[in-house]
Amino acid sequence: MAGDLISAADLAALWLTLRLAAITTLLLLVLGTPLAWWLARTRARARVAVEALVALPLVLPPTVLGFYLLLLLGIQGPLGALGLPSLAFTFTGLVIGSLVYSLPFVVQPLQTAFTSIDEATLEAAAALRAGPWDRFVSVVLPLARPGFLTATVLGFAHTVGEFGVVLMIGGNIPGETQVVSIAIYDHVEALDYRSAHVLSALLLTLSFMMLLAVYATNGRFRMFAR
């Protein structure tokens, strides 16, 4: 049944896409949480610059991002000069590209959530014997839960929909770097509309379901800080 509807190569692309999105989201949550916390609490002047830098992937054409990443990760790039193997056209390279590409989609909802937590609430926790780490785990994390949910879903969904960056740094190696969005592009190029339909419908449904989950559980949420 499934074999009739979807080819083994497309199934591999789908699996690769989901794996890429899951790993990227997980890493972004780990890295983005301290960054978003810093952005939400700091009074340092550098904050504005860092905020702009984080938001850059929102406005930059993915090909520009992909181009610079290709230069960075390629054999002639600074990594290559350090004697490290080239990461271009590898799955690891894709993960690195996706981290940059989806960064604002994870950091900004977290920052919004952290900003909305009153310093007063944290003072109350401190006066109840909770140290800094304890305050973060037992007050900040639960209060920021809607932000984490938004960040997870947006980070995941945005990585699934990635095209330009992947094309630039990952190319189109089936089973290695070929993701669904590129597989769809290939099918359309080859006038195989049936396969393109199947994959497109899958992505459409998946994205809608994820956003539905966010809106249903969060009531209303703001996607971006400020």
Binding site: A120, T121, E123, A124, A125, A126, A127, L128, R129, A130, G131, P132, D134, R135, S138, V139, P142, L143, R145
Partner: protein, 383 residues
């Protein structure tokens, strides 16, 4: 247990510079107008103002000195904020347990059951915080702070955000707290009646510095302090209950050898009460009037006369059986009566209000039927 502090905090346009040694028991009211540094003082004591310098020693433990400073979470303090600051992601039980779980086991003196009983929290335990009334919120906040078994309880205007009804609802709980907890409490307030009802000791703050400290009855009547210059200046007197007339609903009180009658709905179950008598309810006469609706005519001695405080009026500080009483009279009456310090005359008291349990009542005094839990608490409070 005692509380010693010497604190200094400078902010643009404001400097807090205050030092005091407070009794290790009972409620100390921090009184003063808005912006005089009451809340800042509490925040410094709790360790919430990193820029504060000085010394804080509570129950023999140094919280802060010239070369060391414990962060807020390492100070054995209970802080009740003006707005409660309950955690919205936890229910009442979760809020109460937050501090209790984190208190060092060796220090735990108060257990959830004690505090829940003391503050009447049992019906609220499984409620969401968002659904609580203002008064309930503050009771939970007080309970939450108490469950850390603090050595010092800081109450930052716990009644300020409440309407009159919620206030009336929570005051009795504070009185019970005062009566049953062996714990120093600092209560920030700018309501005179809260001081009258609750405080044993008073810190008067003005523009960041300590203007005066002492028993409220003394400070309330000191002519040199702004407290006696306001429209609602009042004296606090400790009196003994000697009888209750059920037909006329009058309480007979003794002030030294003199007798005072006060209307009361019921006879309080204790022998001592604190009275609040406003200066504008006291008139002076050379001799006792014969036909007069005023019940109370007391022998007093003039101690001190103020200058003109309000247009055409001055304040006379009187002595009645060793306690101060205030009378607001017109400048003309003062001249006609030829008032001078040392003069003996009659004070006609129009109204006197029993101001609450206060310091005059023994622990648990005005709350009948509280013998059991109280005894248990006192055991645990022993040093």
């Amino acid at each position: 247990m005692s509380v010693v502090f010497r604190l200094r905090l400078t902010r643009p346009g404001f400097t807090l510079d205050a030092a005091a040694e407070l009794p290790g028991l009972g409620i100390t009211a921090v009184f003063g107008r808005s912006g005089c540094g009451k809340t800042t003082l509490l925040r410094c004591l709790a360790g919430l103002e990193p820029a504060a310098e000085g010394e804080v020693i509570v129950a023999g433990e140094t919280w802060q000195s010239a070369d060391s400073r414990l962060p807020a979470h390492q100070r054995s303090v209970g802080y009740v904020f003006q707005d409660g600051r309950l955690f919205p992601h936890l229910d009442v039980r979760g809020n109460l347990n937050f501090g209790y779980r984190r208190a060092a086991p060796a220090r735990v003196r108060l257990r959830p059951d004690d505090v829940i009983g003391l503050l009447g929290l049992a019906p609220l335990m499984d409620r969401r915080v968002a659904g609580l009334s203002g008064g309930e919120r503050q009771r939970v906040a007080i309970g939450r702070a108490l469950l850390t078994s603090p050595d010092l309880l800081l109450l930052d205007e716990p009644l300020a955000a409440l309407d009159a009804i919620s206030k009336a609802e929570i005051l009795p709980w504070l009185e019970r707290l005062h009566a049953e907890l062996r714990l120093p409490v600092l209560l920030v307030t700018h309501a005179r009646d809260e001081v009258a009802r609750l405080a044993d000791h008073l810190l008067l703050l003005d523009n960041g510095s300590l203007l005066a400290e002492g028993p409220p009855a003394q400070l309330f009547t000191r002519a040199d302090l702004a407290l006696s210059a306001t429209d609602d200046a009042a004296a606090l007197l400790d009196a003994e209950v000697s009888a209750y007339d059920e037909t006329d609903r009058l309480l007979e009180l003794r002030l030294g050898v003199q007798t005072l009658w006060v209307p009361a709905a019921a006879c309080p179950p204790v022998g001592a009460v604190r009275l609040s008598i406003q200066a504008r309810d006291v008139s002076l006469a050379m001799s006792a009037p014969e036909d007069c609706s005023l019940l109370n005519c007391l022998d007093v001695t003039v101690c001190e006369l103020s200058g003109e405080l309000q247009p055409g009026e001055l304040l006379a500080r009187l002595d009645i059986a060793g306690q101060p009483l205030l009378a607001r009279i017109s400048m003309r009456s003062a001249r006609q009566l030829d008032l001078v310090p040392g003069m003996r005359l009659k004070a006609l008291v129009k109204a006197a209000v029993i101001s609450g349990a206060g310091a005059a009542a023994p622990p648990g005094g005005l709350h009948p039927g509280r013998a059991g839990p109280k005894a248990a608490w006192e055991d645990r409070q022993a040093p």
